[in-house]
Each structure stands twice: as C-alpha cells, then as structure tokens.
C-alpha cells in the first residue's frame, strides 16, 4: 500500500512539475505533445495520473504528519481542474464549455468532501473559523474577505458589462445531412446506391474486400503495404486509380487539405474554419463514399444552411473535375489515410 501510494505521489509531483514548467515556459511547451486523434484518451490518462498522484501525495503528507486540511485539498483540486482545462487542452475550448466542466467538477468535489458527516464538518471548519474570528489571524482574514469580496465581485461584473468585441460564437454543423440524390455533370446519383466505380479488383470488378486489403492498417504514419506501390508502372485497377487520384489531389486539393491530408495546407491558415482534416477519425472514416462524392462535387455552395455555405472556401469541384476524377480523388483519400469508407450495411 505504502509503495503504491509513494509511486502515486511520485507521479503526481513529476506530472505537476512538468505541467507547471510547460505552462510557465520553463521547459518547451511541446515536451509532452497532445497527439491528434489520440488527444481525448491521452488527456483521460493524464488526468487519471494526476488523480493518482494527488491521492498518493496527500497520503504521503499525512503519513509524514503534514496532512493538508480537507478544505484546501478540495479547493486545490478544483483549481487544478480549472487550470488544466485552460492551459493544457488544445485546441482551446471556449469559456462556456470550461465553465460547464468546472461546475461538474465543483459538484464532484462537494460530493467528495461531504461523503460523510465527519468529512463535511472538517471541510467547513476553516470557513466557520474565519466567520467566528476567534484568533487574530482569522479576524484579519475576515476583514480582508469583507473588503476583497465586494471589490472582486464588483470588478468582475464591471468587466462583464464592459462592451467587448469578441468573436461571436457560431455553431456550425460539420457533417450536415446529405440529400437523397445529387446531380453531377447531368447525371443523377442516388447516394444510397451509388458506388465508387474505381473500387475494383484486378479483374475490374467492384470489390470492397480487394481494396480494403490494399489499405494499410489505421494509425498514425499510415503507409502503403509492401509491394502495393501505386507508382509501379505495372499496376492495373485499384492501385493505378489511387495514383491517378493522388495526382489530382496534389494538383488541386492539397493547397488547403495539406500534404498530410490533415487540413493544414499552404492556404489553410487563412480560412475559418480551417479545412477538414481527413486523418481525424471523425471525418471521412465516419462517412460513406457517396457523401464525400456529394461534398466534393457541390462544395461549400452546395451545403445546407446549417453547414454555413457562406463561410466555406470549398469550391464545387464539378466545375473543375470530371466525375471520374472526383471518384479517383476519393479513392486516394481513403488509401492515404488508411480508413475504410462507411457502408450502408
């Protein structure tokens, strides 16, 4: 037990030092990187480490006779959660969301400190002490609070009432509901039944399994399989089309969607929102190929209102590409990211 707790304490101290160092720029802020795609899991893990660390710390301290009062433990933990959300989470989350998490963790802290009558009493003891002001120190504190609280609250409300020019929050639906069918270059495609004509095997037949077998396992650093080089001149079928799709992608799409297909292309920084990140498991991996076909063909203009068509830079690619070229680009995007399109069954 003791060893376990010591380990927890060690983790806690190391983690706190690391986090503090990163926040105050003592050590490079990218020392422990939040890796795209793994960010939520990484943060849950980090958080678990910190909780274990705190538990260990408080155990060690009480074992050494320097137990921290329950009151300060509760407040300290809550403050930690707020700071963690503010400084560690990237991309930053809006204040409203942080406030929500803050409230939830406040409730959790209350539940923890009021788990038993004894704990609750211990928790509120410092507050009562200040209110009663039996000692000189507490009297001083009481007067300080009496003065500081109104000033603080008045100051906050003044700050809140000052007219500000902050960006208005606009909630955009990233994947709006697609139409049942779409007309591209004069031909109607039913989204439920259409298929990518280039997802074919070597005999030229539509074959989801064959192409899936040529897509590498998912994960960062997705690479082609050995001996599945789309640049091989002898390629026929799927891999040949992947290369053709890649050529079109790198002549038209990578300026925004990036060489990594992660939405960080050359021009991407100028746009709001920045272009879609195909390596994020929340984008093309969640969608049917026909959805992508509709989005690529119609671009930002073709979006319904909830998709903010006015803010999208995505052109209707049917103006620049043929239907075949669009299907090939889609094929390439799945090959390059290692994802499988979602299917109807």
């Amino acid at each position: 037990m003791k060893a376990l707790m010591s380990l927890g304490a060690l983790i806690g101290v190391a983690g706190l030092l690391l986090l503090g160092g990163m926040i105050f720029d003592v050590i490079p802020s990218n020392t422990v990187r939040l890796v795209e795609g793994y960010m939520p899991m990484q943060m849950l893990f980090e958080f678990a480490c910190f909780v274990a660390g705190f538990a260990g710390l408080s155990y060690m301290m009480s074992a050494m006779g320097m137990a921290l009062p329950r009151f300060w433990q509760g407040i300290g933990f809550w403050a930690f959660v707020l700071l963690y959300l503010k400084f560690r989470v990237y991309p930053p989350i809006p204040f409203s969301v942080r406030a929500m998490y803050g409230t939830v963790s406040l409730v959790a802290v209350f539940m923890w400190v009021s788990a038993s009558e004894e704990d609750w009493k211990k928790f509120k003891q410092p507050i009562m002490n200040v209110l009663d002001a039996q000692t000189g120190m507490n009297r001083l504190l009481r007067y300080a609070y009496l003065v500081i609280l109104p000033i603080l609250i008045g100051g906050f409300s003044y700050n809140a009432m000052m007219p500000k020019s902050e960006e208005p929050i606009e909630l955009r639906t990233v994947h709006p509901a697609p139409p049942a069918s779409t007309k591209v270059h004069g031909k109607t495609y039913t989204l439920q039944t259409s298929q990518n004509p280039y997802r074919v095997n070597q005999e030229g037949k539509y074959d989801q399994e064959y192409t899936n077998a040529n897509i590498v396992e998912q994960g960062m650093g997705r690479l082609m399989k050995p001996n599945a080089n789309p640049w091989d001149d002898k390629n026929q079928g799927y891999l040949k089309y992947v290369r053709e799709g890649g050529e079109i992608f790198f002549q038209n799409c990578h300026f925004c969607h990036g060489d990594n297909l992660n939405g960080r292309g050359l021009h991407a920084f100028a746009f709001n929102p920045i272009p879609a990140n195909f390596t994020d498991p929340g984008t093309i991996a969640q969608l049917q190929e026909t959805f992508i076909f509709w989005r690529v063909s119609k671009g930002g203009i073709g979006l319904p209102n909830e998709g903010f068509p006015w803010a999208s830079v995505m052109p209707p690619w049917e103006q620049h590409l043929t239907v075949d070229e669009i299907w090939k680009v889609i094929l390439f995007e799945y090959w390059h990211t290692g994802y499988y399109p979602r299917t109807w069954d």
Binding site: R33, Y90, M161, P163, G221, M224, F250, R264, N305, A311
Partner: protein, 590 residues
C-alpha cells in the same frame, strides 16, 4: 577519447590551412584552426542500413513522391503549381543546414539530436512559408529517419553522404556559441551592418524582401524571392519557433544552398553575426507592446482574431497614419489565401497577409490597410478585364507541363496589372438572421448582394455591387462621390492604403442599397488583395475569410452603476451572514 579529438583537430587544422591557402579571400575572418569563427570540423555519418533504406522507400512512395517525384527531382504531380518548388534532391543541395556553404546537410540515421541532424529537423518541422509540412505526429521518428535514409542514399545522385574523398563537414557550433543579448546598441550596429554587407540589396531597405525582386533565380533557374524579415513565421528553418534569433544566426552563418543567399561566415565575426541576427529579429512584426505575436500551433502562423475593432474619433478621421488615433487603434492580422475556388485560380499566392486598422466618426468609417508587396505594380495600357468583369472563362494552364512551363517558371513574367485591395461587406446583413451571410466570394445572388469597395494602384477608388461569383459587378456611380481615398502609398515593399466610406444611409435605413454600419454590431467583412506582378486581375487574387468590423460603442453609464450596486449588495449580504452566525452562536452559548 581526448586523444582522438586532438588528433581530429590536428587534421582539421591542416585541412583548413590548405583551404585558407587556396582561398584568396583577403578579408577572411578565421579562428585559430583556420575555420570560420564558430565552426568546427565534423565527421561524415555512417551509411544507413539496407533495411532502413528499404523501409524508407515505402514511406517516400506514400508521402513524399507526390511533390518530390519518383526520381526525387522535385517534379511530382503537385510540383508545377507550387512556388517555391519542391526540392530537387538529385544534386544534394539543401537549404537549411548547420554546415558550411556548399556542404551537404547533417544527417545521421541513428541520431535525431536537435542541431545535429538538419534533414531530420526539416522533415520534422517542415519548411514554413513553403508547402513542405511538418511531419511530426504523422510519421514516427523512426519513419522520418527511414525516409531520409532512402532520400540521402538513393535520390541524392550527384554526391554521396559517406564519401570521405569529396565531402567535408564544417559544422556550426550553435549550441556552444553564447547568444548576444538584443540590446539597442547591438540592433543599431546590426542595422548598419546589413547595409554594409549589402543585405539590403536583396532584402530591401526595410527588409521587406523588395530589393532586386525580379532577377533572383535558384540553381535550377526558377525565380525566387528574398525573405521578408517582417514575417519571421515564414522563415524556412524557423521550426515553429519563429522569434528565435538563433535560427537567423544559423541561416546567416551557413547561407541557403541553391539560392543566391551566401554564407557570411567568412567575412563577419560571430559578434557581428549576432548583431545582424538581433537586428533582423527585431524587425519581425510584434504586438503593440513589442511582444512576439502568439503563434497558432494549428497553423504555425500568427493567431487570428476575426474581429476588426473600430474606434470612435471626434471630428474628421485623420488622414495621417502617424496621428495619435491611428497609433492607438488596434492592428489586426488578416491572413490571406489564394483564391483557388473559381477560374482563374491563384495557386501561387504572394500576398499572404494584410494588417487592418479602423476608425469611425458620426458619418464615415475608415480602414487603414497595410500589406507587404515586393513590387509596386501599375498596369500600362489596356487591361484584359475591366475590374467589373468576370474572367472565369480563361483557359487554365495544364499542370502537367513540365518544369520549363510551370507556374514557378513563369513567376515574375506576367503582364503587369494593378496592385489592388478591396473591402467587401454584406449589404443586407441586418435582414439576414445571424449567422447567415452572403457567400464570401462576391455574394450569393440579387437577394443577398455584397458591397465591394476597391482601390487600385492607378489611384482609383470604386464601389461595386456583387451578386455572385460568376456575375459581373455593377458599378455604383452615385455612391462613389461620398467615398474618399485618404492615402495610397507604396514605400520600400509595403503598401499603405487608407479608405474612407460612409456609414450607410442612416436616414432612410436603406439596407437594400448600402451596407449599413451600426455601432456595437458585428458587420461581416471580407478582404481581397491583388498583386499586379503575379498576374492577379479579375477573380485571380488573395482572399481572407469572413472577418467582422465592430464599431466600439462608447461605454454606457450602466457599466459603472450596476457593478457598484452589486458590490454594495455583497456588503449587505456579508453583514447578514455575519449577524446570523453571531446570533446563532449566541443562541448556542446561551
């Protein structure tokens, strides 16, 4: 260990002595070893293993081949529409190094140590200001080393990284050289040195990259442009750390291979190099307090605030940029991307940001727009398109035209059009339920038009109504009388344009015609910019995203009253809590 070092140093000294004998440079500043100050002899790295090269080939043919090409000649399918073009690996010429000019960069397949593995760092962090992205988080460290093993052994054809006969390594010891603090004195001396060392001939008098802008070519004959010192986030090799003066020191010491940028290691002392680096670093854009701009880790460019605040001035809006009101007005960074949505598309965008400030009075609103443009372009003769005209029917250049016909080869050879800038606002933004706006490119249709105020380098200021990306603009004749060009000046690679326009027809509240500028409201605003020497005209241009013009209202009286009331309320509450507690205690003790 010590022995081998002294031995090496001995050999290095002899070799360097030979170099000094051969080189007739009379002004060489060399250390005791015969090497430029701050450099030491290094060893060639061992050849990577065959398995590593084979694994690297897979990485290359998945990720890199699209731009750098099958043979590594920098001619992949993406290459022709890129400027600067992807690196041609064949000759072994690499830009960002810790090695002396002309030498191969540092690469060791076993050693990803910062400052000792140039190619690894380039792949890891990418090259800002070019299409080369950061591969960190995409490829593992091992994969990055593997692909470099493949590139250095198979695609670099004219030289060999392990050939002790022909290759030497003279390594800049950046980690050991103590940085000189950026004092005013150091920066002042640096400012004098950039003139003395002729840096300004290419980089321009104010370092905006506007000197000699037409004649510079890289080793492959493609036109290139000198760096703009005011945009350090675009420095190659700035490694997501653009304000780090060490990066400038390194580039200045080693030169940029393949470009006209030489190494200054031989004719400057380390001290002088720090002065120059400090000076160049001091030019990079900073905020009002002189702090580095926060860099957005998502994009590696300055963070963007999409609100352009406009401050109220009494009386006339000053036309003088140096006026107190303009100096106090917050300056916003507006990022610009190439318009590649509709033909003619602008793949090579040369205006990647503008700076915007705004002021208003009771009748007008004024924008002060500043942007770096290496060339002042004013069209001569008749333009192929009237500024009102759509030119979407233009034949677009086929991307598969080979190097000599590529966009990069054509750069700086275009017919010269007018430099221009435009502010587009949504006409009926009041009637549209938020957040709905017209389409950002020239409006949606007659129902949701936009109002475009465009200035061109010939001095004209015109207003148009846009009703869709594929429709000609309608010129607004009667409206232009009330607009005013307060300033339009090009100086040392930067345009300063100040445009004043009316706040809209307030009397009739005529939302159909005018954009009605209202205090305290978010008014959707888009910025367009054209670089005349880039062939930008009509729809070929740089575009921003939707910004908001926000006219700061005067602070209402309630802002002062309510917080005071709240504070008093808190005091009362405190009194109540204390009395209650005291009473309760009394009750208990009694």
């Amino acid at each position: 260990m010590m022995d081998s070092i002294t031995q090496k140093a001995g050999i290095a000294a002899v070799a360097a002595f030979g170099v000094v004998l051969v080189s007739s440079a009379s002004y060489s500043i060399v250390s005791a070893q015969g090497l430029p100050e701050g450099f030491k002899k290094g060893d060639l790295a061992p050849e990577p293993s065959a398995e590593m090269i084979e694994a690297g080939k897979r990485v290359y043919f998945t990720k890199c081949v699209w731009c750098h090409g099958v043979d590594g000649a920098g001619d992949g399918p993406g290459a022709d529409r890129l400027w600067p073009r992807p690196r041609n690996f064949n000759q072994g010429t690499f830009k960002i190094r810790h090695t002396a000019s002309g030498e191969l960069p540092l690469f060791d397949a076993k050693k990803p140590i910062p400052g000792q593995n140039d190619l690894f760092e380039t792949v890891t962090h990418g090259l800002p200001g070019s299409a080369m992205p950061s591969w960190e988080g995409i490829l593992t460290e091992e994969q990055r080393l593997q692909v470099l093993a493949f590139v250095t052994t198979q695609l670099v054809k004219d030289r060999k990284f392990t050939d002790k006969q022909s290759e030497t390594q003279t390594v800049l010891q950046l980690a050991e050289i103590k940085a000189k603090p950026a004092t005013d004195e150091s920066k002042k001396r640096g400012g004098e040195l950039v003139v003395e060392k002729k840096c300004v001939e290419c980089h321009g008098m104010e370092g905006r990259g506007d000197g000699n802008a037409f004649n510079l070519k890289d080793d492959w004959g493609f036109s290139i442009q000198p760096a703009d010192w005011h945009k350090c986030w675009n420095f190659r090799g700035s490694r997501q750390d653009p304000y780090n003066v060490g990066n400038i020191f390194r580039t200045f010491s080693t030169g940029v291979n393949g470009t006209p940028m030489p190494s200054f290691a031989d004719n400057t002392t380390v001290d002088e190099r720090w002065d120059i680096a400090n000076f160049v670093n001091s030019l990079c854009e900073r905020d009002a307090l002189g702090n580095p701009l926060p860099i957005d880790p998502l994009t590696d460019k300055p963070k963007i605030n999409f609100v352009v605040p406009s401050d109220l001035v009494e009386g006339e809006i000053p036309a003088d940029m140096e006026h107190e009101a303009w100096k106090k007005a917050p300056k916003r960074y507006v990022a610009m991307g190439g318009q590649i949505t509709h033909k003619p598309r602008n793949f090579v965008n040369r205006i990647d940001d503008i700076w915007v400030r705004s002021l208003y009075n009771d009748k007008s609103i004024a924008y002060l727009l500043e942007w770096d443009d290496r060339t002042k372009s004013v069209a001569e003769g008749k333009l192929p398109w009237a500024p009102t005209q759509v030119n979407i029917d233009i034949k677009e250049q086929d991307p598969k035209t080979g190097e000599s016909e590529s966009i990069a080869a054509h750069q700086n050879n275009y017919t010269v059009y007018n430099d221009a800038i435009a502010i587009e606002t949504a006409v009926k933004w009041k009637e549209l339920p938020a957040p709905i706006k017209p389409r950002y490119l020239f409006g949606t249709n007659d129902q949701f038009p936009v109002d475009i105020v465009k200035w061109e380098a010939d001095g004209s200021l015109r207003a148009f109504k846009g009703t869709g990306w594929d429709k000609d603009f309608e010129e607004r004749d009667n409206y232009e009388e009330s607009m005013k060009l307060l300033k339009g000046e090009w100086k040392d690679g930067r345009w300063y344009v100040m445009i004043q326009r009316p706040l809209g027809n307030k009397k009739d509240q005529d939302y159909d015609e005018d954009t009605f500028f209202e205090m305290g409201q978010y008014i959707p605003t888009v910025f367009f910019a054209w670089d005349g020497h880039n062939g930008d005209a009509g729809r070929k241009m740089a575009v921003s995203a939707f910004f908001y013009t926000f006219m700061n209202p005067p602070i209402p009286r309630e802002t002062y009253i309510y917080p005071a009331i709240i504070a008093v309320g808190v005091v009362l509450l405190e009194g109540w809590v204390l009395t209650r507690r005291a009473n309760k205690k009394k009750g208990k003790t009694l």
